[in-house]
Structure formats: C-alpha cells, structure tokens
Symmetry: C2
Subunit: 326 residues, 2 copies
C-alpha cells in the first residue's frame, strides 16, 4: 500500500496512519494523549535544537533517514553538554511512498531513540506530491546538568583537539549509492552519547564539542576558530581516513576534510586532560578510532601541516559538496 493525499488530510486516513505506523513504534505515555503538544516537567537549563533530513537514498549501508534523523538531533544536543531527553518528529511524505518502507524507517527511529535514551513526544505528518520519498524534521530538548559550560567560544591557545574517528564515511557511502558504485563503505551514522558521558563522568574539562557533519572538519574547525578567536593547527598524518574511503576520494578528487560525517565529533580539552580524554574515548564503540589531530594556536584560521612538510590553509567548504547527504 502506498501513501496518498488522504494520509495528510487530518481526517480518518491520517488517524489510521498515526495509529498503525507511528503509534505502533513511538507509543509512549506523552504521545498517546493525542494533544496538540506534549506536556513535560523540566527543571533548569535546557538545550533545544532542530534539524531536517532529506538524504537520498532513504536507506543506505549503515543506516537510513530515520536513524539519521534521531542521531543528528541527539548529537546536536550532546555537543552542548546536554543530556538528550525528548524529540519531536515532523514527517513530510511524498505521494507514492510505500507504507512498508515508511514502517521500516519509523521502526528504525524508534530503535535509535531507545538506544539514545530519548522519547519522541510529539509529531506531525503532511503529504505532498512527489516521487515516493520522504523528509523528516526532528527537534530535541536536552537537560544541561549544573556546572557544564561547553561552547564553540571556549577554545584557547594550547588546547588540544581530539577527533573521534575516521572522516568521510557517511559522505562516501551516500555518494557510492547515488553513483551505483559497489563497495563496502558504510555510513558512520551513530548517536554519540557514550563519548560525552564518559568524559564528564571522569571529570575531563570539556571546553568545546562539535559533531563533524555537513561541511566537514574544515568547516567545523573554521567556525570554532572564528567564534573562539584563535587559530587551529592540524597534522595531516594524524587525520584518520578508512583506506577504502581514501581510495574512493582519490579516484573522485574528494577531500575528506570537507566531507560530511554522521557519527564523528571533535572534543577540545586543556592540554593536561588530552591523554586521559583520548584513552576514555577509545574505550567507547563510537570513539574507538579516536586520535589527537592538533591544537589551538594564537593565530587565525585553520592551518594543516602536510605529509611532505609544508603547510596549507584549510578553508571552509565552498560550493555544493554533495547535496542531500543528510
């Protein structure tokens, strides 16, 4: 059975879709009340974020648009030192979408949300003309425990920059699928809870965190350098790229530094905490390939020491990159 316009009417067909697909997987005490909004008890300081997901293909090696839509917003909340608690999910379904495919995606969202410890408490569905695809928007709320101050503005000269793993996997995976190139490259799509959890539990002074998504490491580090008014120095040798991804990039002329990831983050800590932070990150599943990639300097912008001993300025992504990777 396929989605048609009646599923977006707000009437009986919409209600059936809610019950049979969304209710089946997302059902919880708050959502089941069927009010126009969720009512939540929240004390103190919260983080609040939103992200829309338009990736094609909607199912790919290592994930799907549903998993991505949960991980993306959960990671945004984590990056501010928050404990993610609640999500909303807004679906824009294209006419002709197979209900089976929608169910697969919704089930994947539910499973990912459960693992990440978040509850989907409000939702909305619209149907538009189209070619059987879908878009998902999620927004999220997280609680920031007292005493945490994580911000892109906190980075200072001498601080050490850690990266949680290899670059380019998600981008290369989606591009491979789009170009119908067969390989073993899987998206790194993952919720990153375990990394901030272990760092905070062990008293690491976390100054800045960022997930390395659209625009890639180059864009993220330039934004931090701008916001913190410092420079960043990277060592090319220390930046991990999976050999198969590197081969793929070499053939297509892509730069892993500007490629999007969906399960990678950087952490910036004072020099004295760097080695301990690295050990802790490597003990997590999502951070097992973590490395120290560089440090904050007194300069401006991002500079990379290349393998052959030179140095080059690393600018933000300009132009389109690959569209619809997230």
């Amino acid at each position: 059975m396929k989605i048609n316009m009646s599923h977006g009417s707000g009437g009986k067909a919409s209600a059936e879709l809610m019950r049979n697909i969304f209710g089946k997987y997302f059902g919880n005490e708050v959502l089941d009340k069927m009010e126009d909004a969720a009512v939540l008890d929240l004390p103190g300081k919260i983080a609040y974020s939103t992200d829309s997901f338009v990736v094609t293909p909607v199912v790919f090696k290592g994930g799907d648009i549903g998993k991505l839509s949960v991980c993306g917003t959960v990671n945004d909340l984590l990056m501010l030192g928050a404990e993610p608690k609640y999500l909303t999910a807004g679906f824009i379904l294209e006419e002709g979408l197979e209900l089976d495919q929608l169910e697969t995606i919704v089930a994947s969202m539910a499973e990912t949300a459960k693992k990440a410890g978040v509850v989907i408490v409000a939702g909305d569905t619209k149907v538009v003309e189209g070619r059987g695809g879908l878009f998902i928007n999620t927004s999220g709320i997280g609680l920031i425990p007292e005493g945490r101050d994580v911000s892109a503005a906190n980075c200072e000269q001498g601080d050490v920059i850690l990266l949680s793993g290899t670059l380019g996997d998600h981008h290369a995976c989606i591009l491979s699928a789009r170009m119908e190139i067969e390989n073993n490259i899987a998206s790194d799509c993952a919720c990153l809870n375990d990394i901030p959890n272990t760092l905070f539990q062990h008293g690491i002074h976390v100054k800045t965190m960022r997930d390395v998504t659209r625009g890639g490491l180059a864009t993220v580090l330039n934004e931090i350098a701008d916001t913190s008014q410092c420079g960043v120095e990277l060592r090319e040798d220390d930046i991990p790229v999976h050999p198969e991804v590197m081969g793929f990039c070499d053939i297509l002329g892509l730069d892993p530094l500007t490629m999007g990831n969906e399960g990678k983050m950087i952490v910036i800590v004072p020099e004295e905490d760097a080695e301990k932070a690295l050990t802790l990150m490597k003990e997590t599943a999502v951070g097992r390939d973590a490395v120290i990639i560089g440090k904050a300097t007194a300069g401006k912008g991002v500079v990379m020491k290349t393998r052959i001993g030179g140095s080059r300025v690393v600018d933000v992504l300009y132009g389109e990159g690959l569209p619809r990777i997230c």
Copy 2:
C-alpha cells in the same frame, strides 16, 4: 537570485544565506551564538510541539507559509494553556526558489513571531531538487503556569462549547487560489494568544481548547468526544460561516464542518462560565465573531441539530479534503 544546491551544503554559501536572510530577520542573543542547539533557562512544566508546513501557493490572501508556520505552532502550545516562548525553524528549500520570495517569507515569520511573543532560537536549512517551492517545520516550547489543566480529556456532560469565529476561510482561500477563482476570501491565519490570555486573566475555568485546523470542526469535536468519553451536540444555526465562503462551498459541494482553518479555536467551559467567556472572546480581534455552538452530552459522538429540525451524525473527515492547505 535563486536558491541552488550550494545553499544547502553547510559550507560558505550556506553561511551567507544564514547571515543575509535568516540572521537579518531572526537575529537574537540565542541564535547569534551559532551553536548546534539553543541553551535556555526554563523552570517547571512546559508544552512542546511540532508542525510542518507545505501549503501551496506559499503566499496567499491573508498570509503566507512563514506566518502560518509560526501561528500553527504557537496555537498548538496555547491550546494546552501554555505561554509560547521559543520556536525552532527548519527550512527545506527547493532549488530555484527566488531569494526575494524567501526573504519575504522569513520577514513575515519574524514579524508574526514578534507579535506572538516568541523567539526563534534554533534553525536548519536543507536544499532539495524541485520546482522553486519550500517547506517549513517549526517546533515550539511554551511554559504552562502553575494550576492550569487544559486537556482534550477534560470535557464533561453539560459543558458549553464556544467557537472563536467563522469556519472555512483558510481552506476556501487556498482552494480559490489553486483553482484561480477570483474572490475576496482571505485566510483567517492568525496567532490566537489573545483568547486564552483574556480567559485566564479573568479566571474562566478553561477545560479544553483546540485550534480548528486540518480535518475541521467535525474532526476536532469527534477527537474530544472520544478522548473525554462524552457526546457533543451542535446547533447548525449557530455555526458561523462568512456569506462568501458559504456561497463558495455551496457551488463546490464543500462542508465547512470539515474544512481547515488557521486562526479559529474552540473553548470548552463549565455552563456557569459560558456567557462571561463569550463576552471576553468577543472583545478580542481574533474572537470578535465568537459564538456558543453547542454542549457536551452524556451520549457518544457528535450530533448536529439541523436547520430543518432534524439531527445528523457529524463524522470525522474521511478521504483527502484539500491537500497542502497548511
């Protein structure tokens, strides 16, 4: 200038779009920090909601998709007795969208948000292939003051149902635009803050509120009857419809009871508060045509006493209604 894929890359073109359009209109202390999420101080009980907007045409008599995207979420929060505080905005732009049109819509969102007393604190933009249109998702957070308990489950036998004004305006406006029929029908698209504000300020015991959107009054009242396990009795004579909208409906065979509105709500109060609530609603701009339309009964479902003295069961909308009205 038109939107192209580079505006969704997360790189330099994206950053320019953020600064030149979104920053220009939405700029505020929280958003300007350019973090992955907003950090907010919130005490106690909150309402949390989301809605996606896909209306075509994107600009129509009485409003546009930007105004609609703010009003829709603000109204959802209000309906739970909350004071709307913060919004997020997620844009999915189709390639070819005129930047001027985007700016008009963003400016309209900013103006509507200001009037409704909400601040847009986080956002996201993606670009997809398409025909120059756009979709907007908003999510919202509101604070629920101590002691308020407004819910679709609170309606009891004898309670009185008030409607804030005429039915069908938004739906008839969008349908007219789509069919290129020239008339004076304008959307009722509006934020409804003034109605709950005045009712609570004057100590009215508000049991249930609902905005009458997709699916129309028929669907909303059936949902309340189901949730509260009561019946609803309406009087056809008391349901206000603008004469031009009524004429439009007669010609096309539409039923104002299942048509969508974007600035209308019902309020359910105990019988002893009904007349005072009506007077208060009529003193507001968005409630000046308010009327008492019926009451809750011991029965089941929604029944309407017709003009000719009979009665008919009013069922929820089944089938498509008009797609993409919101």
